[in-house]
Symmetry: C2
Subunit: 470 residues, 2 copies
């Protein structure tokens, strides 16, 4: 499959996809004009041989173009897709898949690090007591549990996004394309956030395992290599954030013109119409409101600064570039409020009755941790737009510490519940039976340097050197 | 060299160092009772063969202990070090070295990414114009330039720390141990901050190079492997932050008792005595004051919450564990204010006259970027303690954008000025001549998969499969 810009008689018709034969069916030699090879060693994804490809006077039959939407007729006439965004739906699909990949890597890493933290003992809390499981150190809990919460948040929000995706496909089949823009934006946002949080989460979890985490036998580095690749592919994250940012500013412009908002931007209209936030309360929905209020105000700021630049004589595109930092910040917050509100909805309303009371209680604490943690991480922007008292901030810190404490006894069981087989985790630190040290030794013994009690290098280099008269 | 806990007749005498013979001098076989091997593959530092070591009834002669400070007398009597912290000085030295390693890795990565960003062209800013160098995108500048500023900040602050270290050694030689505690804390803080910012900076710079950054031929992954290892070794970063945090709370306790502060904690006393911050002004020293004010207030909060817990019946150690999150946050800010104030001092006062006006002008803009960026990143805490108006926040955003713009024409030249030889950078993307694509192709062609036009796997696996009747 080749994805390429289509030109007919010098006129550009966007990016299209083609099936192209690259090698001879008998000899497998590259066909004339095809320059093909592998790009070399990468920091991850060792099993995928990414290639480079060059064409020189290669003719692709017209019918090799994928023509479900846009078409090229036998005479060479180009027929546009019925909706220009239809091509995006493949990307939307892939980005939804990436959300799955991200939370999967993150939850695997969380399982490894949590199990290890229940086995490893270090640093007495009371100097008269024996060394505790390191999972009893609050700073260790703060490394592990927010990542469990992040992973579950993306898993549940991702499932919700798949439902929206199915709905969008059904509507498209009926000729209704209105939800596509929303779907495109939310898939971009979730792709960006889940790969960013997934990647750095995996790495934080690895670092939470101290020196042992540095061993490749833990499988952390493979997980990291897999998830961080998705930070860049299928729309580099900053490029996607800028797309979302420009969409937000366009949306805000439409608000100033009194236009109606699509469902996923409805919160912007609410805040545009009533630009004050209600007084603080301790509910979880208030934390979501804080994120929404902040996302809206960051959008307003980006809109104002971009507009000022345009009024100052810059083209819209130059102004967009110069407002880039604020556009990406607004975009991130738009994504955050989506995840937070979808997660809240899915836990406390949508599918609540399909779950046991016990499971709901665990999930509600995970939701609590997720929301408090997310709000604390964005406090730099939140405090700019909302007056929050010192007492409220102290209460958030208390809620954070309380949710960690509450999660502690369930942490290992929650990870067991993700149901990753030892063969999947493939980690010396993360196995179900907790036999960490036995596995570390077994893995180390397989090292080429450990196959003989005296490495060959001694006779070859070290001994002659030691015996010489330097 | 073996570092071990020393016990004499069951009594513990701290960690001491011993020279221990591990292998036979003739055969190189491990001596009786010595179990030695290599720990296996790691995510970085491939050239260093870290080992495991076990002793069973191994006798170490008394005189093999390093006895410059603490001693064991022939009769077995233990003589304490003249100052208990003297043992720390070796760790202080190593941590100072790690700061060098960190900024070195970071500035190498910054050189690679900046040079590549001046070569790579993508995404027109005005759609009618050709694709610009990606370094002209403001979001790209925001990825590159703050890392250059961070690297220079740690380099210059690190040099200042070496001066303090030399001074401390001189004082110790004269029997004056008063500066050691300060020195220990500041070395911990700089080790933590430089390895954290260095590691994630290297990775941000790699990500700024898009898909190409994923190739190991760029050398980013080696740099990352080197610097992230230091996040964990020589005092794991969270463990060190907790040490600093406990020192800060102890210091705050001493303030409440009216005690005098050491030089590096003097700012805490100032703020303790006068707990209001002056009205906003646009100077750089005000940004440092903001960080100091916030560090002091985070220390106060940690002190209050820890004290409340102790008053509620917890032991000091339990209370420390439960206040762990706030202790580490206060510790980080203590480090930030040190770097910021030392960097400001070194650029604008200490060695200003040893540099040309032109160089000072460049360095002052880098200082500006560093301070604005650092303050913005800690705004979540700053806004908690200081009323900053929306206009002030807008002015900070303007200063950020202005400093990026000002750095743009100098960026490549600044990196050239770090004077890393192509052989040191060892990167397909980072060479001085900018021939990125030629080098990428050369490196790819060396891949084992590219040695034949048709890989062996075709005849062996693919062809039989294609010809079968599945």
């Amino acid at each position: 499959m080749v994805v390429a810009q289509l030109y007919i008689d010098g006129k550009h018709h966007g990016i299209q996809m083609f099936i192209v034969q690259l090698r001879d069916l008998e000899t497998h030699m590259p066909l004339p004009g095809v320059d093909i090879g592998e790009i070399g060693k990468k920091l991850g994804m060792a099993g995928v041989n990414q290639g480079f490809l060059g064409f020189k006077r290669v003719r692709i039959p017209r019918t090799n173009m994928l023509m479900r939407n846009a078409k090229v007729l036998p005479g060479g006439k180009f027929v546009q897709s019925p909706a220009s965004r239809l091509n995006y739906m493949t990307m939307v699909f892939t980005r939804c898949l990436i959300v799955n990949l991200s939370y999967d890597c993150l939850l695997q890493a969380a399982t490894i690090a949590t199990r290890y933290s229940a086995v490893r003992r270090q640093s007495p809390i009371n100097s008269s007591d024996p060394e505790p499981q390191i999972i009893d150190h609050v700073t260790q809990q703060q490394k592990l549990f927010p990542e469990i919460a992040n992973g579950i948040a993306y898993r549940i929000t991702g499932q919700h996004m798949w439902e929206l995706y199915e709905l969008t496909l059904k509507e498209i089949a009926n000729g209704d394309y209105t939800r596509m823009a929303d779907m495109h934006i939310v898939a971009c946002a979730l792709k960006v956030l889940s790969t960013t949080d997934g990647s750095f989460g995996v790495e934080r979890l690895r670092l939470a395992c101290g020196g042992h985490g540095y061993l490749t036998s833990t499988n952390f580095s493979t997980l990291y290599g897999n998830v961080i690749a998705a930070y860049t592919y299928e729309g580099e994250n900053t490029v996607l954030l800028l797309q979302i940012g420009r969409y937000l500013v366009k949306t805000w412009t439409q608000l100033t013109q009194g236009k109606k908002m699509s469902p996923l931007a409805a919160y912007l209209a609410e805040i545009y119409d009533k630009p004050e936030i209600a007084a603080w309360n301790d509910s979880r929905s208030y934390l979501v409101k804080l994120l929404q209020f902040t996302a809206a105000n960051k959008t307003r700021l980006a809109f104002e600064n971009l507009t000022n630049r345009v009024n100052g004589g810059q083209t819209l595109e130059e102004a967009s570039n110069n407002t880039g930092i604020e556009l990406t910040q607004a975009a991130e917050l738009h994504g955050r409020q989506f995840v937070a509100s979808a997660f809240l909805e899915q836990i406390t309303v949508a599918k609540k009755n399909q779950r046991s009371v016990a499971l709901n209680s665990v999930l509600e604490n995970i939701l609590e941790l997720y929301l408090v943690q997310t709000v604390l991480r964005h406090m730099n922007d939140i405090l700019r737009f909302t007056p929050i008292s010192d007492a409220n901030l102290r209460s958030l810190q208390n809620r954070l510490e309380l949710s960690l404490k509450k999660l502690r006894p369930d942490a290992v069981a929650i990870c067991d519940g993700f149901d990753y087989h030892d063969r999947v985790l493939n980690s010396t630190l993360g196995c179900y039976d907790g036999n960490v040290y036995e596995r570390l030794f077994e893995a180390a013994k397989k090292s080429p340097l450990n196959q003989k009690p005296v490495p060959d290098s001694f006779e070859k280099y070290l001994k002659p050197f030691l015996k010489s008269n330097l």
